[in-house]
Symmetry: C2
């Protein structure tokens, strides 16, 4: 049987340990090609490079443990997927896998996530796609406990196919000692970030800000990704890119905008 | 009666004619404060500035026709909304209005749109929000025919309130001679972009790409934003930031990921 072709990308950059771990896990399942940003792109959301040039070159990051084919790209995660599909791969991949992100993309974080935007970009193109994140921001995070779960979810996605118009947002709890208890399919928890701007003065006297914030969970449901993670489970949220709030169309129609 | 407080932003930059028109339209309805990017941010999706500094300063773009309070910001549209809400405004705005974008944000474009990410950012904070776009990419686009529709939709949103968890994505057809026929509440059309990378060589011999693409409508429905626009109507899509594909949770559960 032909091995599945797996396109990998991420948003922490091509040298990030989370991606290097993912490459190792995926090489046991299929033929792996990497197209990933040449620098960190966290918080890039679904940005694409329109009015600027895009550089890309073949690289060797780790001859032994790396993928046979790796390209770095000056663009965003969504750019990497577009470039991979159109310019680098000579056939359609069987799946696009993004991550493993250093830090949570559960709940409202999916909106800001470069990791997930790469998966969504592939989904828009009709290709099965999954974004993986470990809820540990550290560069030295331990990805080894993710292996079993990442491989299982990718294999089942290849077996069953992901429902059309959907990509998977998978988050793995930070577990210092133990491995996750299991996998839960969830909905995205309602939450937001309470921003705080840290205002400072530059050496030349200019005011500037650092954006900081505190995650605020607004959801007591036990069917959410945040709840699953808090209980030590891996969360899987099927995520769609039809953003229509179908249930509110009638409400807006009642505004009688044409009278 | 107290005038509503309206926070304006956009993604084409604070000097863009689309925003300058929006300011004029909104000054007839409420008290207007502008916080907008100091340079174009098209295609920025829901990017935010995490690992970089953010500059912002009060500016006067047009003393007569401008807003009484305007700030430019070095960040993305989503940054502008965060900064406006947390640092610049002394009370919660009654509505956040983003645009008027130079170019369509209908259909799948909503995913890449900085204009809509600003509206979504406000929606996440629980503030009513609308993104407006004119389907004309020209810097010299004629925004005058938008006035009636933009004002009507904002006034009704202030009157009725926008359903929770929802923001409005409004697109206005390019109409050389005539004004739009009316307003239709729609769903987001299924579509994607067929990318083409234009590969070139820099003067120093480096390969680089320009991302180009062709919009490909994959949807024959007559209840979509693309259809409404093609018929000369303004499209209004209620847009949500709960990305959960609730209808597919059971399907993924059938994968038996815990066996």
């Amino acid at each position: 049987m032909k091995k599945p072709l797996i396109l990998l990308t991420n948003d922490d950059g091509i040298t990030a340990p989370g991606l290097r771990s993912l490459i190792a896990f995926m090489k046991e399942i299929g033929e792996v090609v990497v197209v990933a940003p040449d620098s960190p792109q966290s918080g890039m959301g679904h940005a694409i490079t329109i009015d600027n040039t895009l550089y890309s070159k073949r690289v060797i990051i780790d001859k032994e443990k790396g993928a046979p084919i790796e390209y770095s790209c000056s663009g965003t995660p969504a750019d990497c997927v577009k470039l991979g599909l159109q310019e680098i791969l000579d056939r359609r991949p069987d799946i696009v896998v993004s991550g493993i992100n250093h830090g949570s993309n559960a709940s409202i974080n999916v909106i800001y996530s470069g990791t997930m935007s790469a998966a969504i970009e592939a989904g828009i193109e009709g290709i099965p796609a999954i974004g993986f994140s470990l809820c540990d921001y550290g560069w030295d995070a331990d990805f080894s406990k993710c292996k079993e779960f990442v491989q299982k979810i990718v294999i089942q996605a290849l077996n069953y196919g992901i429902p059309k118009g959907t990509v998977l947002n998978v988050n793995i709890p930070k577990a210092a000692q133990q491995i996750p208890k299991g996998i839960k399919v969830c909905r995205q928890a309602k939450a937001n970030w309470k921003e705080k701007f840290d205002k400072r003065i530059s050496p030349t006297g200019k005011e500037y800000y650092w954006l900081t914030g505190k995650f605020e969970l607004l959801d007591k449901g036990e069917d959410t990704d945040q709840f699953a993670l808090s209980q030590g489970y891996v969360s899987v949220v099927p995520t769609q890119f039809d953003l229509t709030a179908h249930h509110t169309i009638q409400t807006i129609n009642n505004w009688n905008l044409n009278e």
